[in-house]
């Protein structure tokens, strides 16, 4: 098993890492001090651009470039919003970062605030992460006591405050504009873009939204340079990535590995292989919103480009492993139930489409499907895809589409025999 240098997780299992004393002892807040004393905000942004760091929330947009979209001549305040609304099924990396190394997240937030000249940053954390929220709030108070947060930070005339804002339980608020609507006190309805948040975001002011993992990389980039970071991973997918491994593997969990490592390595070397040595059936490599890969794609490399080429996406790197006993109709139904439940109710194709898809899948699963239903499923997906404000509509369809594409025989079996083709081994013992 190859060993790779850990960056984000370097200190994650050190006892007391969540306390500022330990964090400082391990070199914490050095990057922030370096940034505010030796670098201009523009230089920080430049370094992040150089690093090639791409957004870790799912879309993979280059972080530094995003920052550079902020208007230069706005008289409004600039806001930074940390997207800690981690809700993509199969994803649980930000939670671990926030719970175990909250200061790293705070430091990344502070450096980014400095880079984009933001005085008030918000961490929008999903409601269920009560412990993570407590950790962040405590870390912020610790950092405030040490003078890293507040007024005239480190005597450099910089004011930055961080507010931890707790969500209310809505997957959609992980979408950046829905997050803003929610942060403004509304129901989490996404907004039409343009205008992009960098131009008109929170309270109509220029706003940058970055994922927790993205920001956790920033202190390391400032410390060790963009070029160093860019040397890790692949050419276009730089750095390391936390892969969230779940499902039918022996050792599920978060693994920080360089971008571009083969899927096989992740599942068999790190994940310890499939439970009970069963055969692999399929992998969803980027959270439930991306298309399913069949077992023969086991050698695909885990980076943005390779996965796209293989017909899926890196997404949030929530790698869900399905063994041979999984009924793919049931899996598709499970995913659709999620999207129907989480559709915000704004766009007709999404709220009605997911509802309709769910009803058909439910019928097929319960033995009341027809062959025409299979075409109808695709037809409905066609009518949803690309026709909604936010990507939730587009995220709801890959599960149905790809299972139908690769495992059509299971759907047909369901329709003909009114039951699953395979039955899942019991796991709860």
């Amino acid at each position: 098993m190859a060993e790779y240098e850990k960056i984000l997780f370097k200190n994650i299992d050190q006892p007391g890492q969540d306390r500022i004393e330990t964090y400082l002892k391990n070199g914490g807040y050095k990057a922030f001090e370096k940034a505010v004393t030796n670098m201009t905000p523009e230089e920080v942004t430049e370094e992040v651009i150089k690093s090639g760091l791409r957004g870790r929330g799912g879309a993979g947009f280059p972080a530094g470039r995003k920052w550079s979209f902020l208007p230069k001549d706005s008289d409004k305040p600039v806001y930074l919003t940390v997207n800690a609304d981690e809700s993509e099924p199969g994803t649980f990396k930000d939670r671990e970062l926030m719970e175990k190394d909250p200061h790293l997240v705070i430091e990344g937030t502070l450096i980014t605030s400095y880079a984009i000249k933001c005085r008030t940053a918000f961490i929008y954390i999903r409601a269920e992460f009560t412990y993570a929220a407590k950790q962040l709030i405590r870390a912020i108070e610790e950092a405030r006591a040490k003078g890293y947060i507040g007024k005239n930070i480190l005597g450099r005339g910089i004011d930055i405050d961080i507010i931890v804002h707790r969500g209310g339980g809505a997957y959609i608020c992980g979408e950046e504009t829905a997050l803003l609507t929610s942060l403004e006190g509304g129901r989490g309805h996404p907004r039409v873009k343009p205008p992009f948040p960098a131009i008109s975001g929170l309270y109509g002011a220029p706003t940058i939204i970055n994922n927790v993992e993205t920001l956790a990389n920033v202190p390391h980039i400032v410390n060790r340079g963009g070029e160093w970071y860019a040397s890790i991973g692949t050419e276009k997918s730089t750095g390391t990535k936390i892969f969230c491994l779940s499902g039918h593997v022996n050792k599920p969990g978060n693994y920080e590995l360089p971008m571009g490592i083969p899927l096989r390595e992740l599942i068999y070397d790190y994940g310890g292989g499939i439970l009970e040595d069963r055969n692999l059936k399929a992998v969803i490599p980027g959270g439930s919103s991306v298309p399913v890969l069949t077992a023969d794609k086991i050698d695909v490399h885990l980076d943005y480009e390779s996965l796209a080429e293989a017909g899926s996406m890196l997404g949030s790197a929530g790698v869900i492993v399905l063994d041979e006993t999984v009924c793919m109709v049931k899996a598709a139904l499970n995913m659709m139930r999620f999207y129907k439940h989480e559709s915000c109710g704004q766009c007709t194709p999404c709220h009605q489409g997911t509802y309709w898809l769910l009803r058909i899948l439910d019928r097929i699963e319960h033995g009341r499907g027809t062959m025409e239903d299979l075409d109808e499923l695709i037809h409905i997906c066609d009518n949803i895809d690309g026709n909604t404000i936010c990507p939730l509509g587009d995220a709801a369809t890959p599960g149905v589409r790809s299972t139908l594409q690769h495992f059509r025989e299971e759907y047909e079996y369901h329709i003909e025999h009114k039951k699953c083709m395979v039955s899942m081994a019991p796991r709860f013992v």
């Binding site: 039409v192 343009p194 989480e342 007709t348 194709p349 709220h351 109808e376 009518n383 690309g386 026709n387």
Partner: protein
Amino acid sequence: MADKISVTINDQAVEVPPGTLIIEAAKKIGVKIPTFCYDDRLRSVGACRMCLVEVEKMPKLIASCATPVAPNMVIHTESDKVKTARKGVLQFQLINHPLDCPTCDKGGECPLQDNTFLYGPTESDYKENKIRVMNREEDQKFDDFRLGPEIYYNANRCIMCFKCTRIVRDLAGEADLGVFERGASSYIGIMKELDFADEYSGNTVEYCPVGALTSRSFRYKIRDWLLKKASSVCSLCAVGCNLHVEWSRDKVYRHMARRNDEIDIGWLCDRGRYGFDITSNKDRIYKTHIRRDSSLEPCGWEEATAVAVKYLTEYIDDNRGAEIAAVGSGSLSNEEAYAIRRFFGDVVRTDYIDFQTEYAEPLTPDVLDLIGLEGKISGLENKGIYIFVDCDPASDFPVASLRIRKAISKRKARAVFITSYHKRLGYFPVTNIRVSAGSEAFALEYLHSRIQGTDFRVPEGLIEDKSKLDNLAKDIKNSDSVHIISGRAFFNHPYRAALLSSMIKLKKVCSAGLSIVPAQVNFMGVTRFGLYGSPGRSFTDILDKINSGSIKSLFVFGSNPTEEFPDRRYVIDTLRKLEFLVVVSPFMDSLTNLASLVFPLALPADYSGSFMNMEGRIQRFEAGPENIHYEMKPVWAILGEFSDVMETGNVWYHDSQVREEIAKNLTHYSNITNIPQKGLIVGLKDKKELEIKETSPEIPPKADSELPYILNWTPSVHHSGWITQKSATLMNIAGKQEAWMHPDDAAKEGVEAGQAVRIGNKETGINIKVKITNEVNKGEILILNSFEDNPVNRLLKRDEKVTFVSVGKI
């Protein structure tokens, strides 16, 4: 930035200003893009996805209602991709939509129906059972849920376009309607036990793109295509919103907006919208009546005319015309006002012609010049500080106040109320500066002194929090735009002269606009076309002269002094002394009870004419229902018939004839014969130069232990006076009469919320339910709404500035 952007839409080039939405750019060249959730007056949400269009080089279809044009965009609105997407959207919208068009009120005027017909699939692929949300409560029909007294919601028909909630929240700033649940389960709803009945609620029904929201007063009554539409003007306040009177045969079924961007931008308030049924009130008079043996009986028109003419002729022949008086109303048309002046001035030869029946202290000519809006209604969107002095914009000029709300929501303006009870503009942030009843002038004088840096001492206890005025003074100094506005309450204000004097002082020191908005639709018109009674000739003078015996007979046109005048007993006693009382009225009521002769008066829906609104805009309104079976007539037609019999000239057969005569005789209004669609603006007097006698504020008298409370009363948006009381629909919404009491007072009296009490003095009182709230001052009682059977003016005395009352348990 370039001032024009050129784009291509369906191969046609078009140039539009930057920021123009694609859907609007398309509209400009006649390309219609279907939509449900888009409204150019509301924030775009892009929710329904019906307006998706293809833009070259863009990977996805985009919502044309939420995307501004960009230079050189090439847009296709009818490509295959677009058509497929539209079909998809429609199919989605219809999956749970009940196909109940035959019984749905929206049928015939339904965007969902129209768009499905134009763009939809003819058959649905949807094979599942439709979900039906049913209302299990008993008193409701079908699947409808009651949201408020007037508006019902059918969740099955709703397509979640969020127009209604945007209207309520963004436009009106109200918080009585919302979206609940999420995703496919979302629905529109209210908070438990809180009715959806804000000032503008009816707009949600009109602009609902399906039949999800319906009006109780209209549903299941008639199909849209059976209705005829008359272009009319609302007659229930001085804004003069344009509307369609929608009618069939002899009945008005509803009012719908007729968009005029100078005035209403297509919105109506609920008073204007739901007051449509005033015309078919049960007390409506359709025939002439004559008093025989002390009771009124129907009689022929000729007989009634003959009796009136005989009476008039005797006096005219005896040169005793001045013993006759005529009283009109601010709700009459310009033509009617003019006709009254011509007939009574020229033919009867009396100067006793007036219309000021709503207040005891008539306006002097210099004050009259101050009435009206300074500037234009459209200017109420401008930035600045709006100071409302004893004024409730939501009730005094509802639709015009939407502009101020908009300015506040865009943070261009702020609103300050100087008031004796809490006022609001929805939930938009406003400042209430509370003063004791009648003491507004002290607040203004103090404000003036703070701006000027002079000294002005306010007696203790008159202003709740002077620091708010200190802050306001600072803000005014930093603002180049201030507007002082008073409304209906100004006319009845106990210390009107002092109030006006202080408003003018403030106006001068900060170059503010000064507006006093009258209550009646055509106050501005009738005062210019003949109904203003100069000093000594006003209605109050007429009452004096009746009492002294020098006026023997009175002709009342369209007003109702017994309901309106702030001393009911006095008016009734006075009118009883008349030898001859002719009442020209739409309704049988407390006034016709005293009449010798009654003529049925047409209401604005029944005839044509013109009004002048608060900004000096003359607008024409057209007749609605056919009333061939009835004998209601406008005043000029009635007086014209008198003239015809008397052979004195002045015979008018059509409203345009009257206007021609006005144009000939009043040069300032020479173009009144040609009123354009958007109305004709006639200049009001410039208020900058106006001088008014300075009057110092006066401390109101203190209450004693016998009558310990000061009485205030106010109409509400749904019930602005005796006319609105004739609308069954409005009464169903307004419904209640309340006495507001401060919690301390309620505790002192041992009164509980909702309890009925008697409010009054030794002689008389009214029974009314109590609402306990600290929105009213301690020691003051505010009565909301006055009704014929429980009239507030029973408690008022014309010569008492302040009315004191006691509260007694029943």
